[in-house]
Amino acid sequence: MTAPITTAAVPPAGAVFPKKHYLNDGTTIRSWLLTHDHKRIAILYLVAVIIALFLGGVFAMVIRLELLTPGPTIIEALTYNRMFTLHGLVMIFMFMIPVIPAVFGNFFLPIMLGAKDVAFPKWNLTSWYVYIFGSALMLWGLITGGADTGWTFYTPYSTTTTTNIAPVMLGVFIIGFSSILTGLNFIVTIHTLRAPGVTWFKMPLFIWAVYATSIIQVLATPVLGLTTLLVAAEHTFGFGFFDPARGGDPILFQHLFWFYSHPAVYIMVLPSMGVISEVICAVARKNIFGYKMIAMSSLGIAFVGFFAWGHHLFTSGQSAFDAGAFAAISMLVGVFTAIKVFNWVGTLYKGAIAFTAPFAYVCGFLFFLVFGGMTGVALATVSLDVHWQDTYFVVAHFHFIMVGAVIMGFLAALHYWFPKMFGRKYPENWALLAAGLIVLGFNATFIPQFLLGNAGMPRRYYEYPERFTALNVASTAGASLLAFGFVIIAIYLAIALRYGEVAGRNPWGSRGYEWDVPSPPPTENFDKVPVFTRGPHEYHDIPEDLAKVGHAS
């Protein structure tokens, strides 16, 4: 049953699966649901976000199928409107926001810091329950109330729609709490629980990225919380904070909404960048080029990202002064991203690169980030945005960043850390095939959408003029390829979980701190407080027989 496995890294001859590890420390459902172990909570999150990804993916496919023809294809207009609302909300709040911080952050942040757990383990578990409760409420509201507002909830449409949106808004509010708890937990952990030797500038870059992300989560989410409450109250009681019919200001809603939702983009993409920094060092077996630049640019993006929200409002009646200020600041985000890209490419220079699935995703990530990021800069160029605002160009741009970059980061992390999390290897050949399919399918899906945007097709269109048909068909075809790639991954990972080759402690020959513990790690992570003497991304003085060191236990 075992699929053929080829890893470019050291074959772990004689690696044995540890007898006692976090996965078998208690096998009852109760031991999972009441666990305070950050690794188990990470697995709980993993299960939840994979379900969310599946749901969101199905909704996306329904949307793409509907858009196969200019007229009605498989669903009605109202269903279509609900479908893109569902797709947006599920993907953003249930998948993108928690995916990397709450799964891989939870799992690896304490290990990478040499800590036994996050600062507040109970709150960590609470955040998962809050997330589940919020998600359930949101989904319930979306399905029974049939919210059709789009994930942006622009007023006064959202406050006057006949569909019931109050539970959806409350669900978003509650999920926000979970996000705040996670972020808060991480920040405190990073500040107080670093092991001896892990100084600020010896922290792995993934930690820096998660740190920057957590700051955004903590500072931005409450504003969204208040906004959702106001919209829910307004829809239910007719308050009129945002409804001009009662003296409110709809542009104020857009300001408050994007004050969260723009930085939220960085909540999604920054951890992905952190993953790439980790993976690229391990596969290229090379120190990261410009550690400080990458670390500081994470903080820079988090900071500057807060002052850029107004570039979503260029055509909404915002003043030209604000438009100019926001556009100029938005450019800085591009600069910080460019710094990262240069440093990643620089890392490959004189490295020893192994072509494995994680590296394939790194390549995909680099391409999508550069292209998606540059189109983002183009969009922030005010006069160009006037044409592109709310067209498929915007859709394609943010999918390049969110699907392109974030999903590449997620898949790279999943493949790179799969041996550590579950102690087994995935089949490399299948993984490379799936990676190829996904990168290809992704391009085929979204490049036509850039052109659709250029041609002037607005987003959230159920029907469209005939002249857009060809590009829409191309996009739908690409989407099916993409979906197929995901199905392959799901199958081989499910098999590898049980039948994969035993990975051993350090199958990649990585120098990251997390590879010092057995795979899968024991519940306590470390027997005694570890002391790290090397940096996390250093490969110039690796021991001659890294492989043996890697499998010492």
Binding site: A245, G247, F306, G310, G317, Q318, S319, D322, F326
Partner: protein
């Protein structure tokens, strides 16, 4: 009690009841001051500025002494100041927008276009979109009902 702790010293133990009481007295005095100032006759913007200044002083006192930020770890100070900075950022850009928008995008009584009634935005707050003399009068002006003679 005399039992100085084993925790190796948060200096904030220096803040004894006396200091706290003093701080409270200052807050009460400031509250009465802001109340008093509000009774003076002067332009409303001056009132706003005075009230905000006094509030900021009061908040500073509460934060520094009641909340022990004066003696706390630096990072807590950074956190709290940062949150206020972001509040101000939000405030600044939104107010800058409101202040510099196309005037008809937020002024209360835009001139009515010389076109027929159906071109009138129905969703106008009371008093908007109509010349002042036609503003609905009397009790319970119904917000959504503008636009019908």
């Amino acid at each position: 009690m005399a039992s100085t702790t084993t925790t190796g010293g948060h200096a904030h133990k220096e803040l004894g009841p006396g200091r706290l009481f003093l701080n409270w007295a200052a807050l009460i005095v400031l509250t009465l001051t802001t109340f008093g100032v509000s009774q003076i006759k002067m332009p409303v913007n001056y009132h706003l500025a005075a009230a905000l200044c006094i509030s900021v002083i009061k908040v500073t006192l509460v934060v520094l002494f009641f909340m022990h930020l004066w003696h706390s770890e630096g990072i807590n100070r950074i956190v709290f100041v940062t949150s206020f900075v972001f509040l101000l950022v939000l405030m600044f850009f939104v107010m800058a927008d409101v202040g510099t928008r196309f005037t008809l995008s937020n002024s209360r009584i835009p001139p009515m276009p010389r076109v027929d009634q159906t071109m009138m935005p129905s969703g106008m707050p009371p008093g908007m979109g109509q010349p002042p003399q036609r503003r609905p009068e009397g009790p319970g002006q119904h917000p959504g009902k503008a636009g019908h003679p």
